[in-house]
């Protein structure tokens, strides 16, 4: 992909706000403080700090290898932290594992289900593990698997398998739900179904921590987004705060292969790049000035610009600007 060019925009994203939205009378669902996890020489999580409030939907956003899964698996109790402190529902994920297992729901990034077992059989099995459980049939309906309820897991499509994993995470009526890349492998229709399902959990007051590398997913679902890269927190804010920053972007279409160095040297441009052949993106803090500079430059260069659009940065652009690389590589 195109490397981001020129001076990067000044970081205009609000400084990480570690305090979760306050809900009267309720403690935090998750507290992570100075978390460090190493695998041999490699540092997977490098001093992560954040807090998730009860009832909040919180997204960890970052590219593969950013430390998302490691973080979520420490909170689930699968791994131990090398340094720092984590509390989940006020408990220690390792020491209080038995108590926590009754109160959390877990959706692993992949697998976790017997290949020769059907959705209804698997949910029925799990429902026997909890004092109070959802009705397996109701869950099947909720995630839209009625037609394959009696088909073995290994014969389901990737998206159907993910939806079963999501239903399985909900069986025990959890207070806190961990979703590790919940919609990876889903088709757009299943993804939208999952989004509306996760959104509906908000009304039930369930806290959700999800990881994703889909910008749209974080933007749609999350109350707050933590962008992490190389195990470090790069930004933490609401999607609105992240995208409605002072930096605007101007996009336009023109002939492929225009001189981006010239675009970059326009007085009001912070950077410029050819996102796709013939599709250009320029960041600016003064969109009106940039537009007049751009049209002047185009007239002088004899170039016809069409579909000029001024708007706020997408979360994808914010990510690119903050980390210097694309989210999906």
């Amino acid at each position: 992909m195109n490397e981001i060019a020129g001076t990067r925009g000044v970081r205009s994203v609000p400084q990480p706000d570690f305090a979760a939205p306050r809900v009267a009378g309720q403690a935090e669902a998750i507290v992570v403080r100075d978390l460090v996890k190493r695998y041999g020489e490699r540092v997977a999580v490098d001093g992560l700090t954040f807090t998730i409030g009860r009832g909040e939907i919180f997204a960890l956003l970052g590219p593969n290898g950013a430390g998302k899964t490691t973080t979520i698996e420490i909170l689930e109790g699968y791994r131990t932290a090398d340094e720092g402190e984590v509390r989940v529902l006020g408990l220690d994920p390792r020491r209080d594992a038995a108590e926590l297992r009754r109160r959390i729901g877990v959706m692993l990034q992949s697998g976790g289900i017997y290949p020769t077992v059907t959705p209804i059989e698997f949910l029925d099995l799990l429902s026997h593990f909890y004092d109070e459980a959802e009705d397996p049939r109701e869950l099947i309906r909720l995630v839209g698997l009625e037609e394959v309820a009696r088909v073995r897991y290994r014969q389901l499509s990737g998206g159907q398998q993910r939806r079963l994993a999501l239903a399985a995470a909900l069986v025990g009526k959890p207070e806190l739900l961990f979703l590790d890349e919940p919609t990876t492998g889903m088709d757009p229709q299943a993804r939208r179904l999952t989004w509306s399902l996760v959104s509906s959990l908000r009304e039930r007051g369930i806290t959700v921590l999800l990881t994703t590398h889909f910008m749209e997913e974080a933007e749609r679902l999350a109350d707050r987004v933590a962008i992490i890269d190389h195990g470090r927190l790069v930004a933490l804010a609401t999607p609105q705060e992240l995208t409605h920053s002072e930096t605007d972007e101007v996009q336009f279409t023109g002939p492929a292969g225009l001189d981006v160095t010239a675009l970059r040297s326009l007085p009001s441009a912070l950077d410029a790049r050819e996102a796709q052949p013939g599709r250009y993106v320029i960041h600016t803090k003064r969109p009106a000035d940039l537009l007049s500079e751009l049209t002047t430059w185009a007239r002088d260069a004899g170039v016809l610009l069409v579909e000029i659009r001024v708007g706020h940065e997408s979360l994808e652009e914010v990510f690119l600007r903050l980390t210097g690389h694309e989210l999906r590589e």
Partner: protein, 241 residues
């Protein structure tokens, strides 16, 4: 308790759904028993071949359930992330293992019933000897071979476990006193066979089920050593994911 029973039911369902597993656990010992008993192949000191063959096949049934069926199934569950996933539910690891024990005991009991029925109906075998010692040997043998299966499943990749379990099964079947007494194997092979847990189990069963039952104390002691050793090793090395 409800969780344990639900999981045990699932374990049995999974056992039955693995067709090749059913073949090796149920069919192979029964077919071998019928084959050798009908041909009358047994060491000359046994008046009736079934008296030699039945204890060996009971030991084989225990081996195929604990080592082969449980080992391979658990190895694949580990590679599919099922052990990891169930570990995060209130079922917990203790009850997950407990459910596996229940399922193994149930399958072994079914196999024993099948083999005894074949021996009784086909070859006029009648229960005799000391059933208590035999039962003790079967329990200890089941624990030993289940531990070996879990040792493989918890340390090796699923495909490797599949190969290793089947390979060990064949090795123990031929050299471990199951179909032929280890004393009659040539020199060093006989010594190897003597030390194998399958031989200890088969011999313990032959001694306790024979016409003049003898308390099979050396064999039970050997099994106990095997069981304790493998169990310690398995519990130290077992990886859940």
């Amino acid at each position: 308790m409800e969780a344990l029973l639900a999981q045990a039911r699932m374990e049995l369902l999974l056992t039955i759904r693995r067709a090749e597993g059913v073949l090796i656990t149920l069919v192979v010992p029964a077919v071998l028993l019928v084959f050798f008993a009908s041909l009358g192949i047994a060491p000359p000191e046994y008046a009736r071949p079934v008296d030699f063959l039945l204890p060996g096949m009971l030991a084989l049934a225990v081996m195929s359930t604990g080592l082969v069926s449980l080992g391979i199934r658990t190895a694949y569950e580990r590679s599919y992330g099922v052990l990891k996933r169930l570990g995060s539910t209130p079922l917990g690891r203790g009850r997950l293992l407990g459910a596996k024990v229940i399922s193994v005991v149930a399958v072994v009991a079914a196999e024993i019933a099948l083999l005894l029925a074949i021996a009784a109906i086909g070859y006029d075998w009648r229960p005799g000897g000391s059933l208590l010692w035999a039962l003790l040997a079967l329990v200890l043998g089941t624990a030993t071979f289940s531990s070996i299966g879990l040792l493989l499943a918890g340390t090796l990749r699923a495909e490797t476990t599949l190969a290793a379990a089947n390979g060990l099964y064949l090795l123990l079947l031929l050299l471990g006193g199951i179909v032929w007494p280890v004393e009659r194997l040539p020199g060093p092979l006989g010594l190897v066979g003597l030390l194998l847990p399958s031989n200890a189990l088969a011999e313990a069963l032959r001694l306790s089920l024979g016409p003049q039952p003898v308390a099979p104390l050396p064999q039970l002691f050997a099994l106990l050593l095997w069981c304790a050793g493998v169990l310690v090793l398995a519990s130290r090395t077992f990886r859940w994911e």
